[in-house]
């Protein structure tokens, strides 16, 4: 089975622009989470969706938004880009309900966003 896929692989944007990142979970997985990983640091949790409902939100400004579609794929949108938004954006999917036992997640390769 294919793993978590993300598109695009790399992206260069200018300050003030908007960007949309896409994630397709592993087949059968209903939960998708988004993370921001700045170079040299651990991933920072942004959002989690399960069955198309938002289940968790990290400490990010309202410029960041996400949604999950009926096929469980997800998009992360970032408006009014800042230089500090430059990072690797990781998507992870999980089979189980994040509130339940046995939860574990599998990561995609990430989208490298550069804001100039």
């Amino acid at each position: 089975d294919a793993g978590v896929t993300q598109s695009p692989t790399h992206l260069i944007k200018t300050r003030g622009q908007q960007v949309t990142l896409r994630c397709s979970p592993i087949s059968g997985h209903k939960s998708v989470s988004w993370y921001q990983q700045v170079l040299g640091q651990g991933p920072q949790f942004i959002f989690q969706y399960y069955e198309k409902e938002e289940r968790g939100r990290g400490n990010f400004p309202d410029r960041f938004s996400a949604r999950q579609f009926p096929n469980y794929s997800s998009e992360l949108n970032v408006n009014a880009l800042l230089l500090g938004d430059s990072a690797l954006y990781l998507c992870a999917s999980s089979l189980r309900d994040p509130a339940g036992r046995g939860y574990e997640q599998y990561f995609g390769p990430g989208t490298r966003l550069t804001v100039t």
Binding site: S31, S33, Y35, Q41, G42, P43, Q44, F45, Q48, Y50, R55, G56, G58, L88, L90, A92, P98, A99, R101, Y103, E104, Q105, Y106, F107, G108, P109, G110
Partner: protein, 112 residues
């Protein structure tokens, strides 16, 4: 708020030797999960091992094992018979109801 601390930014180990990576966390919760993830230079994050806080038995996956000390809030990873392919960044992570908190990582280099 939950925090995860990895106090060893960089470590190295000779091939075939054993190495232990440290992780401590801070939480007031009783039920949670702990994870170790590996991120090789190719950047894809890979799950190494998982521990449920309600289980006293330490998790083991082949050459990887953990020492989970719940009272001390400590969760170290032991890699036995280190291999060159183990060279990577290792992240410790805490999860509670789907919210993940990662440490800053330990860069492990396996020396031939």
């Amino acid at each position: 708020a939950q925090t995860v601390t990895q106090s060893q930014p960089e470590m190295s180990v000779q091939e075939a030797e054993t190495v232990t990576l440290s992780c401590t966390y801070d939480t007031s919760e009783n039920n949670y999960y702990l994870f170790w993830y590996k991120q090789p230079p190719s950047r894809q994050m890979i799950l190494v091992i998982r521990q449920e806080a309600y289980k006293q038995q330490n998790a083991t996956e082949n050459r990887f094992s953990v020492n989970f000390q719940k009272a001390a809030k400590s969760f170290s990873l032991k890699i036995s018979d280190s291999q060159l392919g183990d060279t990577a960044m290792y992240f410790c992570a805490f999860m509670r109801v789907g919210q993940f908190y990662f440490g800053t990582g330990t860069s492990l280099t396996v020396i031939p």
